[in-house]
Subunit: 294 residues, 4 copies
């Protein structure tokens, strides 16, 4: 029952993400390249980190009428520009719909939020598979007609289970993974297969309350705001590049239970915003920080 | 597939909501009444509007061990206290699960958000029926195993269709109605059957941009924040008592389309928060304003 | 006692603000112009309104080493680029400190906030004069060593008083005016002398509660959030281009008095943020809307 | 030049703050006590921590017409009620204006914000003295006509300097101290003289970035929100009971400098809100957490 009514605009564009050492003329060079090849730019944003001397850019232009055939753009751009300017660049096409896998444990709020958007056609994405270390969410997956795979993980079987998961992801040609409150730490090896391609939601305002039971810790500390943080997973627990954060007010009347309740809404919205930014190719990562374009 | 894992605490309590002319001793009188009948109070909140001279109170106590049998509490309270103090009061029991109907049109975001919470057992509520003036949401209703009724409304048939809807609601013993982006104005007569029992979400920061196409109006005006407002429906369009409001930042880069997108998240969270407050019996209405207890 | 400890970086730059009909290559053309004249760009931001087909840009570059002498930049840019691309453009130099006048009535919170920042050297601005229709704020002005002029305004003398005010502003070479809760409507004629150069703070979330006594109206309506809006003054009351808006939570416990109290903090911060954006030359106005760059 | 135009209502009331082990009937007992002595209650709020089984209450009533003379209230209340219910209680009178000392270092934003409110008569407080470990703020103090004392602190002279400060505070009958960005750690001994009576503002969202240079740490971590926290000072650095917290959005475009700039506004508002709550006697502390009444 995919796509009740798509909200996205259909378009046929190329998206270029760049970061490189800053120097004079980069912006002029890139825009010139697009212009003289008749690229109708529909989005351009750039930012220069003056302290680090790094130039960041996102450009999106229509393929229709562009002088260079899609298949050749990367090669041309690399030869003519990127290689000369030591650019770290990626090229995407709006018609290549990213394929996402959801990892979930027992809580349904983030999963439901993502599947609701998916079903409503809110995002340009395919979600062929849901992975879990528990059976609880199987009925939800089935209800939305998505393959559900159960991989119980123990310290003994973790290595082989992750290998099986990776195999499954490979079969499904998964581009990136969303941990929708997946309460199981992924190994360094696993993460290494998806660098800056595993998006997690942590139920605190990082770096506060990293690790387990953040709401209990927040209640114990008597904070007046609780938060949620979505970040790319790295080998360093809860320390990856932050994509999005949100907070909501609380007070002395809140119990741990009510913090958990309030937090769920924060978690699902913050996670979905981060996933949406990632899907739009608007997030660049450099030195454990993100540039998130509008 | 109701209730994956209930989050609510089971309890057996009575809830008393009161408002009346303020005078000395009301609070002492009521708490005294509960105490001397061995009512273990688990929640008490009260507020006095000094300008209007009105006293508001919400008390919740355990029925177990309470000296007065549940069936008699109302009678006793009325005779001994309420009648003497000109109280406007209501008594609820936590074990009476409220029955809610959802009215929806073509947009799924609020509907999905409510059904996700319902399925997760987040709320103490029963949702036996979904009503719509379009067929679009039928598959969603079916997916969640909830009866779906289609009532196309035209200026000609509006009266008979509303009559049929009221009949349906009666059959299902519906206590209150949630308009989850229901794009159809209810008649005064219809609303009169559910006073302060029809909860709407308006996609603007009321009273700004009341009426149709608020996001277009907001974009046209160039606001830097967009909002959503949940309120009880009265015969006066978008002018009923406000339960909850939220806002989110926007800027010159936002198109009407992106405002609509951002607004959806705001709408669903604001509406669900309002419904939750209503379900907890924490909302009192007096002179077109609400008292919303913590 | 100006400038306890300046927080601003000293720099010697030129700032170019542009808006014009969008077409291919504008960005490349402008950046190329700066690059080939050895302009070291330290800030560049641009935005294209695809619906209106308008291109907006702000560029800032170091004058040191720039091939074109400061005095000639405008002329060159106009001849070589602006005139050909139908550009609406303005050129500023960081060393020309803008001169601002404050208009105030009886309330001190916005005035104090602005003078505190001024004294702390937080802003690159000169404030030679304060104008008021009441004497109340004279001691504050004196305390900060700023000229204070009292212009009581009546319907009879309004025209001559405004003429006198304009004369005073002229003497002081005032570039723009900040209405720090100035409770007196400026005439169309007066405003015409400072197009998009009079910044007002309105104590509501416009367009809600435009006009007088917004907090009373907000309380009457029973809103759950109150707001403040800073905008450029036009001949149309409270309807000018919005620069910045903010909101804060309120509830049934708030009286009109407590809303006024909470609102003051909102007003002073929102106004000061708007003034700061204006001072940085980051606000462009087009068709009663603003583009506010980061 | 104190008090341009007082905003506070003059009133003659008594305020009772209580916390004690929860048991049936406390609320009825206290309200009964006030009622039968003709105390016209103008504010009452209470909260029960069900987990800790602690009852908290704040009551305020008019002294005019109250049966017990002000001087006797404490004694009567203690004998008749408090002692029997193991109450931890404090009694205040609205006519006793609290006396506050400000400790500041080199930054003026919090100091100006407090003195602006003081001058505007926004708060019921006296500020007889400002203490600093630097001379920078002397001119500000003089401008507002407040005694300024300079106590340069070194590791060698810290003990004697704090002794001198305590002596000064004693002379001025200081009730509580506000650290308006005072960059100097107070000794355990010093703090012991003012338990839960020293209010600090920390420029981060505690417990994140406790200690020095939080904005540098926040920038390094790449957070998307920065915060400020006002808390009572305890012997444990940045770990005292939190009174108020706030956050504001930031992004990749923010430098450490712009975070510091944005943070200043947050700091001054959060600190002033906390001071105001403290002045209203609405903050209770229990086990390193606060109950902050509305």
């Amino acid at each position: 029952m995919k796509s009740i009514k798509p909200l996205r605009e259909k378009k046929n564009t190329a998206i270029l993400l760049i970061h490189c050492p800053d120097r004079q003329g980069i912006l002029a060079t890139v825009t010139e390249f697009l212009n003289k090849n008749n690229g109708n730019i529909i989005y351009l944003d750039q930012y220069v980190d003056r302290a680090q001397k790094v130039f960041y850019m996102r450009a999106e232009w229509e393929l229709e009428g562009f002088a260079i055939p899609a298949a050749k753009i990367g090669e041309y751009f690399d030869t003519l520009i990127a290689s000369k300017l030591e650019m770290n660049w990626r090229l995407y096409f709006s018609e290549d719909i990213p394929r996402m896998a959801i990892f979930v444990s027992k809580m349904s709020h983030c999963l439901f939020d993502i599947l609701s958007r998916y079903t409503a056609g809110e995002w340009d994405v395919e979600i062929p598979v849901i992975v879990s270390n528990h059976e609880d969410m199987r009925p939800v997956a089935e209800r939305f007609g998505i393959e559900f795979h159960y991989f119980p993980v123990t310290t003994e079987n973790k290595e082989e289970q992750e290998a099986a998961e990776l195999e499954l992801l490979k079969q499904h040609k998964i581009d990136f993974i969303v941990l929708a409150r997946y309460m199981q730490i992924l190994s360094k090896d696993f993460v290494a297969h998806y660098p800056n391609k595993v998006i997690n939601i942590h139920h605190s305002f990082l770096p506060a309350f990293a690790g387990a039971k953040p709401y209990h810790a927040a209640h114990e500390r008597g904070v007046k705001l609780i938060g949620a943080t979505s970040h790319y997973v790295t080998s360093d627990l809860d320390a990856g590049p932050i994509i999005e954060q949100g907070v909501t007010q609380c007070s002395h009347v809140d119990t741990v239970k009510s913090l958990i309740r309030k937090g769920r809404d924060l978690e699902k919205i913050v996670l979905s915003n981060a996933v949406f930014k990632h899907l739009q190719r608007k997030v660049l990562v450099y030195k454990n920080r993100t540039v998130v374009f509008n």
